[in-house]
Amino acid sequence: MSDNLLHVKAVETYYGNIRALAGVDVEVKKGEIVCMIGANGAGKSTLMMTICGSPQARTGSVTFEGQDITRMPTHEIARLRIAQSPEGRRIFPRMTVFENLQMGASLDNLKYFNEDVEKIFTLFPRLKERQSQRGGTLSGGEQQMLSIGRALMARPKLLLLDEPSLGLAPLIVKGIFAAIKKLNETEGLTVFLVEQNAFAALKLSHRGYVMVNGKVTMSGTGKELLANPEVRAAYLEGGHH
């Protein structure tokens, strides 16, 4: 258990009186890619936001590196090097690509700044081409790259990705997922992502969870889940992949 980087234990999260998460348990070990798949409104993004402390879990606990972060404010959680590429990307539209990346590094007093920017420009060469363009003028795929790049600038121990494939062409999704895989393999980056694109996400991940109505209904390795007939019926067949 001690090699758990992130441990979400029996977490319940409410929006007012509405229960969005009904006792969720998730474990992410160091060096893993773990995905959470599920339909719209299952509570995937809520789980992501609960890990980041906004909204905070009503019951249960979130532990990161053995430290209880359930009641911590969001910006302090981020300072533990949990970086997030949030739902809807949320890049800074009027700032340039370069400035967006700089914002990501604000925690680091810019010590590794040049090195890290180079790394991200190698990972996503498109961002290098667009570095002095305003964030809002980028295409959806480029914005997603920027959002991930900005999160990586913080040198995260855990990278949270909320639907990185949303609204993107399959080819671009492929590129982004390849980049995530490369980061995991070369640098041992731990990634937790939530996805609707079950096929691509499960193929990428070491392990996966399935969420239905605020509860985890299934879990297993990526391969197991891909082969599981229930998962296939609910999330894979009839899809485009």
Partner: protein, 461 residues
Amino acid sequence: MANISNTTESASSNLMARALREAFYAGLVALGLFVLFVGLKTDQNILNELILVQRWGLLAIFVAIAAVGRFLSVAFIRPYLEERKAAKAAAPAQEAGFVARNFSMIAVIVLLLYPPVMVYFFGFQGSLKWVDNFGIQILIYVMLAWGLNIVVGLAGLLDLGYVAFYAVGAYSYALLSSYFGLSFWLLLPMAGIFAALWGIVLGFPVLRLKGDYLAIVTLAFGEIIRLVLINWTAVTKGTFGISGIAKASVFGIWSFDVSAANNFAKSFGLPMSSAYYKIFLFYLILALCLITALVTIRLRRMPIGRAWEALREDEIACRSLGINTVTTKLTAFATGAMFGGFAGSFFAVRQGFVSPESFVFLESAIILAIVVLGGMGSLIGIAVAATVMIGGTEMLREMEFLKHIFGPDFTPELYRMLIFGLAMIVVMVWKPRGFVGSREPTAFLRERKSVSGSFTKEGHG
């Protein structure tokens, strides 16, 4: 060749003919429209009888305006606009001219030379109007708008009660100098600190608010400060205001009090005049403005300034990047308020009199309008907007000739707000993002061999 010049000639004569024809029709329509409204007027004479007054002269002016306006529009303005459009399309990427590139440098030099030039042309007494009513007045608004720009333009927090901090600054100076006799140079920083504290006091309750809700609370805050000033008569003397506020001195070395031994004019053996003080004040507010600008420019490149701008763009993303939005908002309020406080204490020292009437909501609205018109976040745009708006409305006082047209009862100042509003609408239609709508990036990759010229160009400046 002869052929070409021939066609252009005939085209231009065609244009003139069309312009004249359209001008004639416009005049005709105006005559038809206005003959009963303007040309004839019913009035009561001394015997209470209704008589018909004929105003053919005024009618002629109306018709002439319509006709001449139409003629100019068809013959000159429209061809000019079309030509410019075509020229713009032909040469899209034009290198900025010398003036455009060094605009701020030139502006500072012009402002430094402004008082001596005015004195040279109008004499000491004649220059008062230009230095005081135009120069100082505009610069006060430039400073206020630059201060508000930190809150609204950079941090994106819509503040409708900015005048409260202006009032705090003004009353800090007025009260502390008249009760304790402290000097301007001591009270200037103190006024800034007091205003900054009030900025934090306002900031705390509104931390969770955004947009419209924030605007309403800040509006209320501005009114609360004003009402306190009116009703706390024991200290502030209420609506009577505080008069006889001490003048500022040149760092305590020379005074501008007539009776003082170290009077500025006496020390230099100059003839007595109030113009020295005004010119001194002009340079003082100019210095304060430049400090505001330099601090803003510096802050934008520092982590806190970047955090402000990021906060304006997306608060949730800010938090997920580890930015403490609470302190970021509070520092924005405090910094903006501090400059409002500086401007306020300057205002008190310049007027020698403060009363709650100077700090009504309209002032907040005007300052905000200047920030929006200038282009949120752009210092140069805001300075231009302040000059146009405040200078323009001051200009109205000078337009004596309008009385010859509209009669001796016409007071152009009364149309100040009307023209202010019209100008705002025109600017917003013409340039929806304000005079300078583009944002200067604060960071860019150091020039390396791999970065092409088209990228580095944007970064400079």
